[in-house]
């Protein structure tokens, strides 16, 4: 358990031990702070700035079956308090990933959640089976059914309850009953609770909320879309209110389902917002680009804030904002 001795800002000399343990179903992590998939590669680069064994887990960039070039550049555009990306799931493919990335993470003792993305339902199943056999350092699967950077919106499985459920079912079948599976959902839907329920019914342990919002920037010099991929995914503090709302709605409907909250977390206070809304863990994405030490800093700030607000354990704060007075 990561516990941090806290001296509240006021400098009153009070110190507190906050228990940051995060329970996600049967998965118990020493800290609720995770990396957001695609915003930490496979950990190696960030390990220059952050001791990755001290955070909850590294969630790896979504991996596909085959190597994938990703999209052409420009792949990003800065937007007010956020950014658009259209990486297009560039990656080395599952073989290379299992050969290089997982052993490195395991050798460093980093708890790892592997994010997988399939071109079709069956590919998700096969990826899940491969990852499940990858060894003890892999503590969970995140199933990315919500990447907006695919050529066909029809392939965003998280847009419809039945397609979302189909993917989760096959993943569950392929990893067996107990292994933690988190379905990563898109906010670009009319009713996220409906999708969340479908995933849980299909066997998801919990849910990761949220992936990026579909967005677009036009370059006013070239008079063309700024991204080669035309549309991209909007992330960063700009989307935080949408993400907190999604966590709030899903926690209200499914209070016993563990949620990983993300979207625009930059500070411990932002992380605390998600936890009060109902998240059991939180992930940091775009903030790593702004501040490569963000993971450590947010974890510390969150711990201080929990202590200042009188919580001795993270667990007690989860969903606290839902309580009636």
């Amino acid at each position: 358990m990561t516990s941090i001795r806290v001296v509240p800002k006021g400098g009153r000399g009070v110190s507190a031990e906050v228990n940051l343990e995060s329970k996600l179903g049967t998965l118990v992590l020493p800290s609720p702070v995770l990396t957001a998939s695609g915003c930490a590669a496979s950990g190696k680069e960030l390990s220059q700035f952050v001791d990755l064994t001290t955070i909850g887990a590294v969630v790896t960039k979504s991996i596909m079956m085959s190597p994938r070039s990703g999209r052409a550049t420009p792949r990003m555009a800065e937007t007010p308090s956020g950014m658009l990306n259209s990486i297009g799931l560039q990656g080395p493919g599952i073989d290379d990933f299992l050969e290089h990335d997982i052993p490195w993470l395991a050798s460093k003792g980093v708890r790892t959640m592997v994010s997988i993305a399939g071109n079709d339902v069956e590919e998700f199943g096969r990826l899940a089976a491969r990852v499940k056999r990858a060894g003890d350092s892999v503590v969970a699967l995140e199933v990315n059914i919500s990447c907006p950077n695919v050529a066909n919106r029809g392939l965003v499985f998280a847009c419809q309850p039945h397609s979302a459920a189909e993917v989760i079912s096959i993943v569950r079948r392929n990893v067996g009953g107990a292994f933690p599976i988190f379905a990563k959902l898109s906010p670009d839907v009319t009713d996220i609770v409906e999708i969340a329920k479908a995933c849980v019914d299909a066997g998801a342990t919990g849910l990761s909320l949220i992936n990026t919002l579909l967005g677009m920037v036009i370059n006013t010099e070239t008079l063309k879309p700024a991204l080669a991929g035309v549309t991209g995914g909007l992330s960063g503090p700009a989307i935080r209110p949408v993400a907190v709302r999604a966590v709030w709605q899903v926690h209200a409907a499914l209070p016993h389902v563990p949620l990983i909250g993300m979207g625009g977390i930059l500070t411990g206070e932002d992380a605390f917002e998600f936890i009060l809304a109902g998240a059991s863990a939180i992930a940091i994405g775009t903030a790593n680009f702004h501040d490569p030490s963000a993971l450590t800093r947010v974890q510390k700030e969150l711990s201080v804030l929990l202590a200042e607000r009188g919580f001795s354990a993270l667990q007690d704060a989860i969903g606290f904002a839902h309580r009636k007075v």
Binding site: S69, A151, A287, F289
Partner: protein, 287 residues
């Protein structure tokens, strides 16, 4: 070899206009002694409640290990967008968060070769530390600097000090010969026995120099400038198609696999697209 990057809260020491640019000096203990020529640093911009979260990358012009105030970095800023305008307006004592050193530096030759350094606009910035390093190794250093106009050249006086010969070209002829820096480079290649070219500047210049190098059988080491969101290798936005030693084309990250690439490894014409031969390129049948 490469030093591990640090993240340091820097303090602005000075900020002065030099032609069309701003030359800023930042006190950043720890970073200067780790800088190799061609490394860059990434600065956060906009202050406490900024809406521009992504870091801005800059080549290092000078790195002073020990100054009156501790180690300093000098950077050349061309102000145009929100972030560079903010940096150009900084006043002494303001704080700037700096991450560096980043990227692979220019590879240095073992032998005392004859090198040509080519800089376009503020692309000259990293060439001065490079020239120093080369001369310390006994190399002969020629330099060609080019820009649209005289005010967009950087370091022409300094260049005389650190090089054996200097050519200057401007599009409007306001300094040096009128014309492009690649033409100046061609003249040098024609009259001198250049062993290696080091270049930093706009992509079309790097591409043209690579062709030119090929013509003369000279290796061109290019420091590229791709749009970067993180600068540390975790976002995959800064890629360009590069042929590896295994002959496979990959979308390589210019922030960690570069910014310096051997010119003949970069598929210059394909920047902005994914060449079909790229590993994992989309097939017509796929989405």
């Amino acid at each position: 070899m490469n030093f591990q990057p640090l993240q340091v809260e820097g303090e602005l020491l000075s900020n002065r206009r030099v032609g069309a640019y701003h030359l800023i000096t930042i006190v950043v203990p720890g970073i200067p002694e780790r800088i190799r020529p061609g490394n860059f640093v990434a600065l956060s911009v906009g202050g406490e409640s900024t809406s521009t979260l992504l870091r801005r990358s800059f080549s290092v012009y000078q790195a002073q290990e020990r100054g009156l105030y501790g180690g300093t970095l000098e950077l050349v800023i061309s102000a145009h967008g929100a972030g560079t305008r903010w940096l150009a307006a900084l006043a002494p004592h303001q704080m700037i968060n700096v991450v560096g050193p980043l990227g692979r530096p220019f590879p240095l030759p073992k032998d005392p070769v004859h090198a040509l350094l080519v800089g376009g606009g503020y692309g000259s910035a990293p060439l001065f530390m490079l020239a120093d390093a080369l001369r310390q190794r006994g190399c002969r250093v020629d330099m060609a600097l080019g820009a649209a106009s005289a005010d967009r050249l950087f370091g022409t006086l300094e260049a005389r000090r650190v090089t054996n010969a200097l050519s200057i070209a401007t599009d409007d002829g306001s300094l040096g010969v009128q014309g492009r820096v690649t033409d100046a480079a061609r003249s040098i290649l024609e009259r001198a026995n250049i062993d290696v070219i080091y270049a930093c500047g706009p992509m079309p210049m790097l591409s043209a120099l690579t062709t030119l190098g090929g013509e003369f059988g000279v290796m061109v080491q290019c420091a590229v400038e791709e749009s970067m969101a993180c600068g540390i290798g975790i976002c995959m936005t800064c890629v360009l198609p590069v042929r590896g030693n295994d002959d496979v084309v990959r979308m390589s990250r210019s922030c960690v696999d570069g910014p310096v690439f051997a010119g003949d490894r970069v598929l210059w014409e394909s920047i902005g697209s994914v060449p079909e031969e790229t590993l994992g390129a989309p097939k017509a049948s796929e989405h």
